[in-house]
């Protein structure tokens, strides 16, 4: 893995000045290598595990792709899925971002048209690696627009293996983000390209690329807010030009029209608040354009008058529009903001009001270590990149800086959006490294040539040898250093690197200024800093390969653990899904917490009550309530939903921490949000969540507890839960309304069946009949009463 990078890193500074054919070929060759690198570093999951779809959402995307490839595009748009959200169902065609599915579907169609019999699954597994290769090429283009080829290659190489992106695009991770990052970077590239050239052709392409992004991911709102921000920035800093107008106006008009074509977006493209900034900036841009136009026509005196006129009119129009918008927004129920967007603007919003968003781990704010884990040394290179962007500040480089700043903010709100930060960090680090190398190599060259020139004049034959020896030294020690850095243990490296990074940032920040005046550094200093930079790169490569191989390749449906006897495989999820799919009736409904909804529909092909597309909070709350109710009440809720089987995930036997008991508090919270008789404090003992002997009776009697720990005590006689690390509270109990029908090998998934209602006893029925008038009324009252209220 490391070799292509070393290749990429070595020529990177050179092509900036090699403006000949050789440079072009080298550059293309390097790009191909970068693509191969980006693809192959993501194959660890296939090699270490198997070619399988990962995690939760990818299973849904996979299922949609299967449907698309089987039934065609028109069926797909009209697909009403009755396998999920029972009894509501879900209109898939209108509620899904179709970009990924259509992409994979057309790849599959194309490949099959060539008579290569690949299965849909294979295509889906490898879509993400393919698109990350393309994304790294897009990064090259974008960075090249801002800072030249060298920086472009550097950034592409860095992006090809940035852990943050790898985490979302390993083979099998078939999720929207996989293609969306490419679309994001490519849209930015086209925007910057238009900004640099002022070509309408690129502007149109930009709108199309934006359309693809809208198709692919809800994160397109980032684009439609970032670009207006940049336009505004340009206007405010007096950088307005006709190129800016061409870059922006077609994007808003065409882009919005195209975005409205995507069923899931539709009129949201003009109605929700996420898009208003772009329209506002659109108006401002026109006003500014008008002002500039008038300025060209009129004499300064007249211009001043006209200026005041335009500004007053413009302001009036702006206010009117803003007022209308405010009125519109205020009339819409959520104030025009979706919950996720609100939680972006106010990071505490979700945890206060929408537990369902807060319950997802990838919506939590990241911790500091996760920054180091995900972007590693880039975090230290980025400031240098920002400085380099200001020398000199162009439209393109100001865009980079703006992109980075906003992305940093968003990544601070949600772990998930670290992904948006990754390309920005890569681009800026690429710029930083490239300009650092540029300065260093130039000064080295200069110094050496000076030595060559001065040498013969001062001391006949001594110094030329010395200088040539030193060049040899540099090249050889470079190689040595890269090798060393790859081999050296990590702890040492990280410590060292922190120090180095400080040096690097300082040196980078100081050097370019010097370069302007002197463009020379002392030879020794530049050699040492080059070596340090290469070491830094080596450390980054080692970290990325480690992250790709160890941290981010697990498919999460198959777990492995290493023990002394060797690798142990936990394949319980698929065992359970296979059992469900073969041994239950095809129309049976399976209730589980929503995390497992997508997998159940995709792998077991059974109807689920709720799934990972959490669009109906009430429905999820109903399931949450059932899980946190006592058995009888839960049975009634499930029976009213026509549920036949209940599936719980239990990790207590083998120590699998993300099981339903650990998620249970969220069920209580979400359930309690809709049905007030579920109260969170009832499940907590002195504010602590526990299931041991100290736990509250409500906790020990709820369905989730019972289903998880049913007969658990008989395994070891004590009921020791390995996740929680203590013995469970209530050990011996029986189930009256549920029966165990299947438990997987490691007990990780347990499936229960709802027992059919018992027949009424004859005598009782007669009694009821005799008191007919009375009972009928009470019965009716009982019927009417909602069982879970």
């Amino acid at each position: 893995m490391a070799e292509p990078v070393a290749n990429a890193a070595a020529p990177a500074p050179a092509p900036g000045r090699l403006r000949n054919a050789f440079g072009g070929v080298l550059c293309a060759f390097t790009l191909i290598l970068i693509g191969v690198l980006a693809f192959s570093i993501r194959l660890f999951s296939v090699i270490k595990y198997e070619s399988v779809i990962h995690e939760f959402d990818p299973y849904f995307n996979f299922r949609v792709t299967q449907f698309l490839s089987k039934n065609g595009i028109y069926e797909f748009w009209n697909w009403f899925d009755d396998r999920t959200w029972y009894p509501l169902g879900r209109v898939i065609g209108g509620t899904v971002y179709p970009g990924l599915t259509l992409t994979a579907g057309s790849i599959w169609w194309f490949v099959n048209a060539l008579n290569i019999p690949l299965s849909v699954e294979t295509v889906c597994v490898f879509t993400a690696p393919i698109f990350s290769a393309i994304a790294s090429w897009a990064t090259y283009l974008l960075t090249k627009e801002a800072k030249g080829t060298g920086a472009g290659l550097m950034a592409a190489a860095i992006l090809a293996m940035v852990p943050s992106y790898i985490s979302r695009s390993v083979a099998g991770s078939y999720d929207n983000e996989a293609v969306a990052i490419f679309a994001l970077v490519f849209t930015f590239y086209l925007y910057v390209k238009t900004l640099n050239t002022g070509s309408l052709f690129y502007a149109t392409l930009n709108a199309l690329s934006y359309f693809y992004m809208v198709c692919s991911w809800g994160g397109y709102t980032f684009i439609i807010n970032l670009i207006p921000m940049h336009v505004l920035l340009c206007i405010v800093t007096g950088r307005y030009s006709s190129r800016l107008y061409i870059a922006y106006a077609p994007l808003v008009i065409l882009g919005t029209l195209l975005a409205a074509l995507v069923p899931v977006v539709g009129f949201n493209a003009v109605l929700t608040s996420e898009h208003f900034a772009s329209f506002l900036v659109f108006i401002i841009l026109h006003v500014v354009a008008f002002v500039y136009y008038i300025k060209g026509l009129l004499t300064p005196r007249l211009f001043k008058m006209a200026m005041t006129l335009v500004i007053t009119v413009g302001l009036a129009v702006c206010f009117a529009v803003v007022a209308i918008l405010v009125a519109l927004v205020a009339s819409s129920p959520t104030k025009g903001w979706s919950g996720r967007s609100l939680s972006l603007l106010d990071p505490t919003y979700a945890s206060k009001y929408i537990p369902i968003i807060a319950s997802v781990s990838e919506h939590q704010p990241p911790t500091w270590p996760s920054y180091f884990m995900d972007i590693n040394v880039l975090a230290f290179l980025v400031p240098a990149g920002i400085i380099s962007c200001f020398l000199p500040l162009s439209d393109a480089s100001s865009f980079m800086v703006l992109y980075l700043v906003t992305a940093v903010y968003f990544s601070g709100v949600m772990v998930r959006l670290m992904l948006v930060l990754a390309p920005a960090a890569c681009i800026l680090s690429g710029i930083a490294l490239s300009s650092a190398f540029d300065v260093l190599t130039r000064s080295m060259k200069f110094q050496l040539s000076k030595l060559f020139d001065d040498g013969p004049a001062i001391s006949g034959n001594g110094s030329p040898n010395g200088s040539s020896a030193s060049t040899v030294n540099t090249s050889s020690s470079k190689n040595e250093k890269t090798e060393k850095s790859e081999a050296a243990p990590k702890e040492k490296q990280s410590k060292k690197n922190r120090r180095k990074d400080k040096e690097v940032t300082e040196s980078v920040s100081v050097k370019p200024k010097k370069e302007k005046r002197l463009s020379v550094l002392p030879l020794e200093a530049s050699i040492v800093s080059t070596l340090l930079l290469i070491a830094l790169g080596g450390f980054y490569v080692v970290h990325c390969v480690w992250a790709a191989a160890e941290a981010y390749s697990a498919p999460s449906i198959v777990l492995t653990s290493r023990s002394r006897e060797g690798l142990h495989v936990f394949d319980d999820f698929r065992e359970a899904y296979a059992w469900l799919s073969h041994n239950t009736d095809v129309d049976d409904k399976v209730a589980s917490w929503w995390d497992y909804g997508y997998q159940t529909t995709a792998m077991a092909n059974r109807t689920v009550i709720v799934d990972n597309n959490t669009w109906n909070n009430t429905h999820i709350a109903t399931v949450g309530t059932a899980m946190s109710s006592p058995e009888k009440a839960a049975w009634e809720i499930f029976d009213s939903l026509d549920v036949k089987y209940v599936l719980v995930v239990f990790g207590g036997l083998v120590g699998y921490p993300s099981d339903d008991i650990n998620k249970f508090l969220w069920m209580v919270r979400i359930g309690g949000g809709e049905f007030p008789h579920i109260k969170e404090p009832d499940y907590l003992r002195d504010g602590q969540y526990r299931v041991d002997a100290q736990a509250t009776p409500t906790m020990l009697n709820c369905l989730m507890y019972k289903l998880c720990y049913y007969r658990f005590v008989e395994t070891d006689g004590k009921g020791f839960d390995r996740v929680r690390g203590y013995e469970i509270g209530k050990k011996h109990f029986k189930l009256t309304h549920f029966e165990e029908v299947f438990t997987t090998h490691h007990w990780m998934v347990r499936i229960y069946k709802l027992k059919p209602q018992k027949n009424r006893i004859r005598g009782k029925l007669k009694k009821l009949k005799s008191q007919s008038s009375k009972t009928s009324s009470t019965l009716a009252a009982g019927r009417k009463k909602n069982p879970w209220q």
Partner: protein, 366 residues
């Protein structure tokens, strides 16, 4: 002699046929009740003439409907290679294999119960000819025998049940017997098996087998408790089976075992120069009535199976499944020939439905 040790009933009938009539006889009629004939999977007859048991030869067998016989019987006739002269004696070994013959009773059992099955047959050999001396021995799998029909000379020794000898039994005599016994052997039934045999020019025969397996024994009633299954696997869950063994040809390679949701990691493989033995465990133990599907695939060297003669090439390969003790209800064999194959001719030892279709493929393999 009846072998009831597995869920497939194998009956080996050794007959000593004497031509008591005057005319030479060229055919021997074998009779089965219709209910049995329905479950008959295979019938094979070997005949040797004369006193000494020498080389036996396979006799062709066909279904016949002679006149003047009860309609409840199905007749097969084994044609002899040469007519049997008057007074001559012929040794005839008839091997019959029945499926779905053992009825589980009770039909639903709990996890802790063991599986009891019922076998029904006649203690007399059903034949259109008079029988002089006849015995019946039934081999049981061992374990508990719930009940069996007792006649005068019935003996149960260990796991062998003996009826007879009976002497001078008239034609078409039927003497029903019922044996109710414990049989916990895997009742693996493949509801459908699709075998794809793909021949590539590049020296490889790729075989892919899609199984849809069901446990054909007594259905599981009530709960399945993993706890009981794990703590006392022999007492609780004795009627289930958890693995199947496939005997693949020698030099099988690139073996995989998966189902539609991915690789199944529970399998073992042994191989030597004679055979390759693959033990596969389905994702979950199969109890009565439970189903599962899986796919196994393997590659075989081309030169072991394809021979060429007269400018033509012949593929000689096993028709059925390599699994042991498995009953296949529906078998589809697809043979994918290389592009441009012509003059396709198939010979199978029994009648099959055949069709051809052209599917374009780009074969990319070694």
């Amino acid at each position: 002699q009846v072998d009831l040790t597995s869920h497939i009933v194998r009956v080996l009938t050794s007959l000593k046929v004497e031509n008591a009539g005057s005319e030479p006889v060229s055919k021997v009629l074998l009779a089965f009740p219709n209910i049995q004939a329905k479950n008959l999977a295979a019938i094979r007859a070997f005949g040797t003439e004369g006193k000494v048991k020498g080389l036996s030869s396979v006799l062709p067998i066909e279904v016949v409907e002679p006149s003047g016989v009860p309609p409840e019987l199905t007749f097969f006739s084994a044609s002899l290679h040469k007519p049997l002269q008057k007074g001559k004696i012929l040794h005839l070994d008839v091997l019959t294999v029945f499926t779905h013959f053992l009825q589980p009773f009770p039909e639903e059992i709990t996890q802790a119960d063991s599986q009891l099955v019922v076998f029904q047959d006649s203690s007399h050999y059903l034949s259109p000819y008079p029988v002089k001396v006849q015995t019946l021995s039934i081999r049981l799998p061992g374990g508990r025998v719930e009940s069996y029909t007792k006649y005068g000379n019935t003996k149960l020794v260990d796991s062998e049940l003996k009826y007879g000898p009976y002497e001078d039994v008239p034609p078409f005599s039927y003497n029903p017997i019922i044996v109710h016994f414990e049989n916990n052997n895997p009742f693996a039934v493949a509801k459908e098996l699709i075998r794809e045999i793909e021949i590539s020019h590049w020296g490889n025969v790729q075989i892919t087998e899609h199984y849809n397996i069901v446990h054909g024994g007594a259905r599981l009633k009530g709960e399945f408790s993993r706890l009981d299954y794990q703590s006392r696997p022999y007492a609780r869950g004795v009627s289930s089976f958890r693995h199947l063994i496939a005997r693949l040809p020698a030099r099988a390679h690139s073996i995989y075992y998966r189902d539609e949701i991915g690789n199944i990691s529970t399998s073992h493989l042994w191989s030597d120069s004679k055979k390759t033995q693959l033990e596969i465990e389905p994702r979950f133990p199969l109890f009565g009535g439970w189903q599962t599907t899986f796919t196994i695939g393997y590659g075989l060297p081309l030169q072991d199976f394809v021979f060429s003669a007269d400018g033509k090439r012949f593929l000689n390969i096993t028709f059925g499944s390599p699994m042991e003790e498995i009953l296949i209800e529906k078998l589809i064999v697809k043979v994918v020939l290389p592009e441009g194959s012509k003059d396709i001719d198939v010979s199978a030892p029994f009648p099959t439905n055949q069709w051809q279709e052209v599917v374009p493929h780009w074969t990319i393999d070694n």
